[in-house]
Amino acid sequence: MSWNEPGGDKKDPWSGRGDQKGPPDLDEAIRSLQEKLGKIFSGGNGGGGNGLPGGSAKSLGFIIGGALVLWGLSGFYIVDEGNHGVETRFGKYTTTTQSGLSWHLPAPIEHVDIVNVKQQRFIEVGYRTGSGEQSLGSVPKEALMLTKDENYVDVRLAVQYQVKDARDFIFNIVNPAATLKQVTESAQRGVVGSSNMDFVLTEGRSEIVTMIKKEIQDVMDNYKSGIQITSVNLQDAQPPEQVQNAFEDAIKAREDEQRLINEAEAYSNDVVPRARGAAARKLQEAEGYKEQVIAQAEGETTRFSKLFTEYSKAPDVTRKRLYIESMESVMAGTNTLMVDVKAGNNLLYLPLDKMIKPQQAAATVQSASVPQSTVDPLPQPSVVDEQPALRASTRGRDARGR
């Protein structure tokens, strides 16, 4: 017997609210008691037989009457808000009572079962929320299921339901909650089995839930279970634990892809502006060079032109002055060796390297254009050639090169 429905009130209906006493509106209750009694006894089987007006048995009458009244009062019961009472007479369904005070024929004749029809009951499929602070414990046997593309997914559902018809709920199925669970498992496997894994795991969640809900409701209605599915909640839809790492790695890979791209963009953002900067520098430098060269040219030519103006007024003297000044400044800055070779020697040997060394050692010694001092540290030049070979303007470098 399944009157102890799960999650509902666990009270035994036989002794539950059936014998509530102390009715507030006794008159009405007694009236309905009389009516019902009348109906029963006029129908025929008056098993009790309460007549017997024996003058000697007045006290007996009282006893029997009192017993009858007590028995009658035991037929009162209260149905709480949100509950329905299902009355049966000799096992046959008669009526469903709403919340409030009601009366039925007492114990052997009528019986009432009280069912909570507002309570949200729920079942969990694929997981169990432990009674304490335990986290979601997966039940792989229920949670793992095949998809259309032959992958496994881990699905956890919670189904909430109400009793929509107390009569059907009580009379039609042996164990409505267990049945609902079986039907839920079957329905979700049917729906998931006809979907692809990606659909289940991502965009298809709400659609799948709707389909499962409809499927469960259809089957439960087919059983006339009196159950109304109020909601189906997809707690979780994941790839199974065994491949969780691979899935996470794939997600990481997606991130890696973005990371690589970002890094490259960072490089690009670093290199390109720098190149632009360098290019701008090059251009500016070129511009500078251009300006510089032109300015130089202008400067030099202006100077020349000025000088030339004066030169054309007195060319001879200017020319001589310029020459002498220039030579002076040249001679002043260099070691000068005057070689007077009129003897007509073919070759004049000058050990230039030896001459330069001491000069470098004592560079500050200014011998300038004084011939004696210049000649002094030198060895006697051996005159071989008789030709007037060396000219005054011959440069040291050229002499060395010979």
């Binding site: 009580i170 800055g333 000219r391 040291g396």
Partner: protein
């Protein structure tokens, strides 16, 4: 005394009355026997009459029962094993048959029904491959099974309400290879992501390098052009100015070149016969 007699009489009457009636609940079906013979089995719920001692009544649960079979292996069309977990919802159809064939015992009835259903499953699964079983043909299988099993169940006095396939699982050794395949698939995806990332990154870098090179080259070109312009302009300026007297320019420029050349103290060997020394040996020309 009379009171006691009346009470005893009433009690006896009540007892006899009780023995003459029986109730059939809303969830029950009942059979009335007349000395072992079945006389009536189609009782409505409610109060009914029987003779005491002669009549005997047996009641059975008429609600929907569940036959929850153990997971069982079946071969599919492609000769693969699948483990199937199913349940059957049934209730008592013909209570007389139910009583006579399975003695009204629900466990025994489940046992018999299990054999029937397994047989039917085996037949249907052998005709289909896993894909059909898992996704497309669930409803069809259900309908066919109900249709085929119904007459057999009726022989047992049972009425089948529903046959549901709850789970179709692959055996552990196969499911582990499914997991491996899933892993491999994910790995493929992961690699694709990573290498696509590398591809995109390389493209971006290459593009950046190209931009740098092109920018620098363009800058070089423009810079050289500018320099050339500078050189040209200056050349023009020089030519215009110095063109006034080429001889003087040569003289002037040579002098400044001499100065520059000997500016860092070299060694000079001079001939006293040169112009510069014309007054070196003699005072007058």
């Amino acid at each position: 005394m009379t009171q006691n007699k009346i009470l005893v009489g009433l009690g006896a009457l009540l007892l006899i009355g009780m023995m003459c009636v029986f109730t059939v609940g809303q969830t029950e079906k009942a059979i009335k026997f007349n000395l072992g013979q079945i006389v009536k089995d189609n009782y409505e719920p409610g109060l009914h009459f029987k003779w005491p001692f002669i009549n005997n009544v047996k009641k059975f649960d008429a609600r929907i029962q569940t036959m929850d079979s153990k997971p069982e292996r079946f071969l599919t069309l492609e000769k693969k094993n699948v483990i199937v977990d199913s349940f059957v919802k049934w209730r008592i159809g013909n209570v007389t048959t139910f009583y006579t064939v399975v003695a009204g015992d629900i466990d025994q009835a489940n046992l018999r029904l299990d054999q029937i259903i397994k047989d039917a499953f085996r037949g249907e699964f052998g005709k289909r491959n896993i894909k059909q079983l898992v996704s497309t043909d669930r409803r069809a299988i259900r309908d066919i099974l109900i249709k085929n099993a119904q007459p057999l169940a009726a022989n047992l006095g049972m009425e089948i309400i529903d046959v549901q396939v709850m789970r179709i699982d692959l055996p552990p050794e196969v499911s582990s290879s499914v997991f491996r395949r899933m892993e491999a698939e994910r790995e493929r995806v992961a690699r694709e992501f990573r290498s696509e990332g590398a591809e995109a990154a390389e493209k971006i870098r290459a593009d950046a390098d190209r931009q740098r090179i092109v920018t620098l080259a363009n800058a070089f070109r423009d810079a050289e052009k500018l320099k050339g312009e500078g050189d040209a302009t200056s050349a023009e300026i020089y030519a215009k100015a110095y063109g006034a007297d080429i001889e003087f320019f040569t003289f002037y420029r040579s002098l400044s070149a001499y100065k520059k050349t000997f500016s860092n103290s070299g060694m000079m060997v001079v001939d006293p016969e040169s112009d510069f020394f014309q007054y070196f040996k003699k005072q007058t020309k």
